[in-house]
Each structure stands twice: as structure tokens, then as C-alpha cells.
């Protein structure tokens, strides 16, 4: 345990120091550190160590522990962290301040590991903050528009942590402890209003990190402006720290029994969360469709996918929890994969503008396949992991009598299909612009990462039992019912999931299609220019159909999908700024006035005593 933290933090600084010697050494060190972390965390599987970091910090010990839940998150963190470091190899080479970049990457990673390992709220908060400011420095790394994105991120993040601090300390004021295990379930004993206040303060903080809709506005900018490997980390796992926090609050502190119990307070609370989650699915999915920046598409998609996770988790049944957790894992894989893929494209073409890309299929085949797999996972096509988790979610929602939510989730998936295809088409299909004729394929280190993650997406899709078993253990440990898991899915009385069946059906369908194709007439390839165009030869460039892709749909939905929250926040920020500018005018620069202030203060004190006897 301590070794993990020591490796993660010490490794970050060691990397930075080694970087001063040579950049080669730095790369090697970074990989070794992140690789070691993977090994360490993997070795701790199914163990439950606990340790004390500092016996007393501001009057409470800093403790860490590992259990199944945190192991589940930790392994995702270290794997994605490792891959992002490997991916950074060529991505960051030749850019300025690479040493700093590695330091921060490793530091954020270390912070996240700390978050999931911590056994009490104080430790949790400390690591949370380290992660937050580390991420701020990384988001701002790209300069230009990234500065604005970074500011937006850190302001919301600070608001979140301030609210969280208030929540943590409100809990402390009553229970006088920060330790999770002591807090567990005790909220039930407090008055509902108080515990609701504490829980909602914590939830607000986590919702900001998790980008639940009214608090999501930092995410699109931050994700799209951050360096690509960090976008992957950000989207894949960093925002999921919010999910982890929500799980802690809802399942541990409040206790899942109470949370889904039909008491007046908690029913309302859960209802609000569910509604927010479904809005988070619905709206960002379609906003993503309208984006023309590849990473913005992915960013909005991250919000929407996080919505699925929240929806599953706040639903509170075992199946819902499993859906949420599994979707978290899946999202970490396929969204990281997509960001890496787009990152590779950006690395080669230096642009993320969907309207100017196209036809890279032939130039970057492996990247294409990776993005294809990622998109399939995102949409939830069978045999990718996204299918399983979404299936679980729909099943939960329908079984538990919330068809409306299921319907919303389904509509969200339609949006996902639209933007997923748009992404794939605009980047890899269609017309290859002239200037990208000589684009080479992605460097080996990037391809390595892409292949690993693609495999993960598919393997998890075919063998969902592996993570589900884990999730089941977690669910049971938190006092929920067990599920009947086998390696290929779930066996239950109402609609079992078995990927073997799906696989065979798909294989059969594939064979049928293949036979039909074989049997039908052979198609002939013709040149692109070989068609009638009113006598004029149309240059190849003009065959680019990327602009105004879903034009009719745009026109339909555009007016509803303004990000009013973003505008509202900007308005507030502007008001605050204007007001503080007014406050500043108190210091008029005239010393006579200042003398008057002093006299005013004194005479106010005297008057209040003589007249009203205040003091």
C-alpha cells in the first residue's frame, strides 16, 4: 500500500529529476513507474490491506485501505495511466516542457490512486485536491484556448472542493470522525434533513467532477483542449473519481438500503439524481452530434456516457449498480481508446477539425480499426463491452418499472450512433484531402496502446463475466443482493445474457451475409471521377461530404440545445467581477478619506455602545 503511494509520488518526482539528466532516461523511468504501479495493484487483487500514512494530521490520522471497490477503480486507473504514458512517448516528443508534462501526468495518476486507496475523508480530500490542481496544470498545457478551458475547469473544481470540504466537515462536526468504515451507515441515525444536506453537498462536489448536467460546463472545453493522452485519462478515469465518490456517499455513508428506501426524503433525493442523470444522457448526446471538433464530440460524449454510469448507480439495485460499474470500466477502455485514436490522428495531421479531415482509412489503418472498435463499444454493438453494460442498464430500468428512463437512455444511444458514425466517417472515410496525402501511420508506441485497448474492448465484450464477478463481490460487500454470474454473462430468470449465444447468432448471420454476397453479382470498382457531371470534371476535393453532415437534424434540434448553463455561469462570473470592481473603488486613493474610515470605525463602535449597548 505505502509502496504503491511511494512509487506513484516518488516516481513522479524521480522522473522529473531524471529528466534534467536526459530525456531518454525520463521516458524509461515514467514507463517503469507506471508499469510498476500496474504490477503492484494487480498483485493486491483480493487482498484487503490497511495502513496509516501519518498518525495524526490536523488531529486525525491519514489512513489508506484497499477493498474490492477501490481495487476495481485502482486497476482501471493504473492501466489507463500506463497506456497514456506509453502513448505520450511520441505524442509529447519535441514539445516544450515535456519534463513538466510527465511530472504532472504521474502526479495526477498518483492523486487518483490515492483517492481510491484512502480510508477516510480527509485523506480522500487531500488526494482529490492534488489531482485537481495537477489536472489544471495539464489542461492549461496547450496554451491559447486551453487557458480559458483550464480556468473554467479549476474554478468549478475549486467550487466543488469547497462544497465537499463543507460537507466533510459537517459530517465531522456531528460524528467526529473521517473514517469511512465508522461513518458507514451512521448517516441513517442523524436527522434526515441534516444527512440530506451533508449528502447533497458531497454529491454536488462529485457531480461537478463527474460533469452531471447543470455542472458539466467545464468538461467540453477541458477535454478538447488538454493534450490527447491526458484527455484520455481525464475522460476515462479522472471524471469517474466523481463516480467513486458518489458510490461512497450513496452506498456507504447513506447506505444503499436507506437510499432506495421509499422514505420521503431519500426518494426525492434519488428522483432528483435520476432525472439529472437522464438529462445528462439525453442532451449532451445530441450536442455531441453538432460538434465539428473531433475531441469536442468525444468530450460531450463523455458527459453523456457518464450519465449512463450515474443512472445505473443511482438506480441502486444490484443490476443497476453492476451496469454502472461495468459501464465505468467500459467507458475507461473505449473512451480512452477513442481519445488515443483521435490523438494519433491529431499528431499526424495537426488538426482536429472534422470538416477538414477525411479518408484517412488507407493512411492509418490500425488507428481506423481501433477507432471503429471504440465507436462500436461506445454505441453498444454486440460483442463489444459497451453492449453488455447498456444491456444491463436497459434491463434494470425496464425490470424495475422505469421504462421512461429506459426510453431516454435509448434515445441517448441514438444520438451516440449518430455522432459515433459522424466521427468515424469524417475522419477515416470519404474523400482524402490533398494535404493529407502523405500522412504516415501512427508511431509504434501509439499503435501498441491502440491495439491493447481495442483488444480489451472486445475481450470484455465477449467475456463480461470477469469484471461482473468482481462487481458482484463489491455489490455483496455493500449489502446488496448477489447476481448469478457466469463467464459469458448473467443467468437470470428474466432475460439472461449469454455472449456465446450472441456470438453464435452473429456468426451465423455473418455466414449468411457472406454467402449472399458471394452468391450475388460481383461489384465492379470504378474511379471516383467516372461519372457524369454535366460535362465538367469535378475535382476530387469536391467530393468531400463532411460539412453540414446531419443538416436536417441540426436545424431541428439546434435551437433547443444551447448550453444555457454555460452562459449562466459566465453571466454570474461577469457579475461577480463587476461587483468586485465596484468594491475596489472603496480605496479611493485619498488619504483624508482613509482617515475618515478610521474615525468612522471608531465612532461606530462608540455609538453602538453608548446608544444601544451592543457589546
Amino acid at each position: 500500500m505505502q509502496i504503491i503511494l511511494l512509487t506513484s509520488f516518488g516516481g513522479a518526482f524521480a522522473t522529473y529529476l531524471l529528466a534534467k539528466i536526459s530525456s531518454r532516461l525520463r521516458d524509461v523511468c515514467a514507463v517503469i513507474v507506471s508499469g510498476l504501479l500496474v504490477v503492484f495493484v494487480a498483485l493486491l487483487y483480493n487482498k484487503t490491506p490497511a495502513a496509516t500514512l501519518i498518525p495524526s494530521f490536523v488531529g486525525a490520522p491519514l489512513t489508506v485501505r484497499l477493498n474490492m471497490l477501490s481495487w476495481f477503480f485502482a486497476i482501471a486507473i493504473v492501466v489507463v495511466g500506463f497506456l497514456s504514458i506509453v502513448f505520450s512517448f511520441s505524442y509529447i516528443k519535441g514539445k516544450e516542457r515535456a519534463d513538466f508534462y510527465y511530472l504532472m501526468m504521474l502526479l495526477v495518476n498518483a492523486g487518483m490512486i490515492g483517492i481510491v486507496l484512502s480510508a477516510d475523508l480527509l485523506t480522500f480530500y487531500i488526494f482529490w485536491e492534488i489531482m485537481s490542481w495537477g489536472a489544471f496544470l495539464l489542461i492549461s498545457y496547450n496554451r491559447g484556448p486551453a487557458l480559458r478551458a483550464g480556468m473554467k475547469y479549476i474554478v468549478m473544481s475549486v467550487i466543488g472542493s469547497v462544497v465537499m470540504l463543507a460537507g466533510i466537515l459537517s459530517l465531522y462536526a456531528v460524528y467526529e470522525t473521517f473514517v469511512f468504515s465508522e461513518l458507514a451507515g451512521r448517516i441513517a441515525s442523524a436527522s434526515p434533513a441534516y444527512s440530506l444536506a451533508c449528502a447533497s453537498m458531497l454529491c454536488i462536489a462529485f457531480a461537478i467532477k463527474n460533469a452531471v448536467v447543470p455542472l458539466h460546463t467545464w468538461l467540453p472545453d477541458a477535454h478538447s483542449e488538454a493534450p490527447a493522452p491526458f484527455s484520455a485519462v481525464l475522460s476515462g478515469i479522472l471524471i469517474k473519481m466523481g463516480t467513486y465518490g458518489l458510490i461512497l456517499v450513496l452506498y456507504l455513508f447513506v447506505g444503499v438500503k436507506l437510499f432506495i428506501s421509499p422514505t420521503y426524503v431519500w426518494r426525492g433525493f434519488r428522483f432528483v439524481l435520476l432525472v439529472l442523470a437522464s438529462i445528462t444522457i439525453l442532451v449532451p448526446s445530441f450536442i455531441a452530434v453538432m460538434q465539428n471538433d473531433a475531441k469536442k464530440v468525444l468530450a460531450w460524449s463523455s458527459i453523456a456516457q457518464a450519465g449512463y454510469i450515474i443512472l445505473g448507480i443511482t438506480f441502486g439495485t444490484t443490476l443497476g449498480f453492476a451496469a454502472g460499474m461495468f459501464h465505468f470500466l467500459n467507458h475507461a477502455t473505449f473512451k480512452a481508446l477513442l481519445f488515443f485514436g483521435i490523438g494519433a490522428v491529431e499528431y499526424r495531421t495537426k488538426t482536429r477539425d472534422l470538416n477538414s479531415l477525411g479518408g484517412l482509412l488507407k493512411r492509418m489503418p490500425i488507428t481506423f480499426i481501433a477507432v471503429l472498435v471504440g465507436t462500436c463499444g461506445l454505441i453498444g454493438i454486440p460483442l463489444t463491452n459497451g453492449f453488455v453494460s447498456k444491456w444491463l442498464l436497459y434491463k434494470t430500468l425496464i425490470l424495475e418499472g422505469s421504462p421512461f428512463l429506459a426510453f431516454i437512455a435509448l434515445i441517448g444511444t441514438w444520438g451516440t450512433i449518430l455522432y459515433g458514425y459522424k466521427l468515424l466517417h469524417h475522419v477515416f472515410l470519404g474523400q482524402l484531402p490533398e494535404k493529407y496525402k502523405n500522412v504516415r501511420k501512427a508511431p509504434a508506441s501509439m499503435q501498441f496502446v491502440l491495439i491493447i485497448l481495442s483488444l480489451a474492448v472486445v475481450v470484455l465484450g465477449i467475456l463480461p463475466g470477469i469484471p461482473l464477478k468482481l462487481i458482484n463481490t463489491i455489490a455483496v460487500s455493500m449489502g446488496m443482493d448477489s447476481m448469478n454470474i457466469n463467464i459469458f454473462g448473467i443467468a437470470s430468470e428474466t432475460g439472461a445474457l449469454n455472449t456465446v449465444n450472441i456470438l453464435s447468432v452473429l456468426a451465423a448471420a455473418g455466414i449468411v451475409v457472406w454467402i449472399i454476397l458471394k452468391a450475388s453479382k460481383k461489384s465492379t470498382r470504378i474511379s471516383q471521377e467516372d461519372n457524369y457531371a454535366a460535362g465538367a470534371a469535378i475535382p476530387a476535393e469536391r467530393y468531400s461530404y463532411t460539412v453540414d453532415f446531419y443538416n436536417p437534424l441540426y436545424r431541428m434540434i439546434r435551437r433547443y440545445l444551447r448550453d444555457i448553463f454555460d452562459e449562466f455561469y459566465y453571466w454570474i462570473a461577469g457579475r461577480v467581477q463587476a461587483f468586485s470592481d465596484m468594491v475596489r473603488r472603496l480605496y479611493v486613493g485619498d488619504v483624508g478619506c482613509y482617515a475618515m474610515y478610521i474615525l468612522l470605525f471608531l465612532s461606530a463602535l462608540i455609538l453602538s455602545q453608548v446608544w444601544w449597548r451592543v457589546w
Binding site: G592, M596, L599, L602, S603, I606, L607, V610
Partner: protein, 231 residues
Amino acid sequence: MRSLIAVILLAVIGLGLALCLSDMPFGANHIATAEKAGRHYLEKAPQETGSANVVTAVVVTYRGFDTLGEVTVLFIAAIGLGMVLYRRKKQEGKPPQPASFVLQTGCCFLFPLILILGVYIFLHGHLTPGGGFQGGVIVASGFLLAYIGCADMKIRHRWFEATESLAGSAFVIAGMAGLAAGGSFLMNFMPKGNFNTLFSAGIIPIIYIAIGLKVGAELTGLIANLLERAE
């Protein structure tokens, strides 16, 4: 408008002050009991310090630490003034008119007398009204007179600085000696001598000499700095 507000605010403050002062009527014997510091000083000072002038006893021994601070404040003022006026721009303007012969002669005549008076005052600080500060001020006023009377008067700043510095150090060293000899800082460790004579009261005259020299040097420095035009 500003004046009006100021008057109103000040009226309130004045009211407050008046309320306070009504609680401490003028001329009342507020040190009637023995545990009051003032009473203690009046009754015990001659024995404890050997100084006939109780105010001096209070200034140099009982509240000697204040005096050290006070000397420091003046030292700060002298140094700060020198710093603020350091490398002042040359001022255009007509040179001051030389004083008349009568004035110059008068000043030259009075200057040593004033110095002697000053020295007398600070030497007899423990016997008569006055003391180091008063004596120092008189010394400085002698220099002021010289400055006004003799237009080409220049003092040697280095000497004055050295005096200041030495006298200040002497004060601290006297205090330290008390610490070494008697166990507390600024302790009156020397023999008290005969009451009401010049050589009495232990370290009081020594400290007052140091203070007198220091104050004289500092105030002269202040005057010189303000009066001299930048060269």
C-alpha cells in the same frame, strides 16, 4: 461635506472620550493604594534606585526598557530620514542670505553655553528636572542655532553617526552588564552612592549620558538633514 461628516464623527468620538474621562475625575488620587505602580515608585524609588528624581528613576530603571525603545525610535527616525532624503535632487533656488554679523557673533557666543547647559541637564538627570532627552534636545538646539546663524555651517555627519552608534551600544551594553551582574536586563548593578549627590544612583547617570549624547547627535542629524541642501 467632508468637514461636516468629520465633525459629526468627531463629536461622537469626543462624546466617548468625555464619558471615559468622567470615570477618572481630574486630580483624583488614583494611586492611593500601595500596590499601584505610581505609589510604589514614589515610596520606594529613592531606596531602590538611589535617584532623587523619581521620574528619572521610572524612566531609566523601572521603565528602562521603554526608554531603550524610545531611543531606538529616535534612532529609526534619524536613519529613516537620512534614507528618505538620500541622494535628494539638487534644489534650484537662491542660496540663503548670510545672517547679519550681530546674529553670527551672537550665535557663536551662545553655542557653547547652550551645549554646556545641555550637558548639565543630562548629567543631573537623577537630581533635577530634566534628563538625557531634555539635555540632548538642548544640545541639538545649540546646533540648530548654529545652523540658522551661520549659513556655511556644516557638521561632520560621520562623527555624529559614530556618537549615536556608540551611545546606543553603550545603553545596550549597560543593560547586558546588568543581565550578567544582577540577573536581569538593565539592572542597576552599580553602587547607589550618596542620595541626592551627583555621583549616585548607580547606572542612571551613565545611561543618561549615553542618552543625552545620542539624542543630541540624532536630533542634530535630523536638523542637518532637513536643513542642508543636497551637495
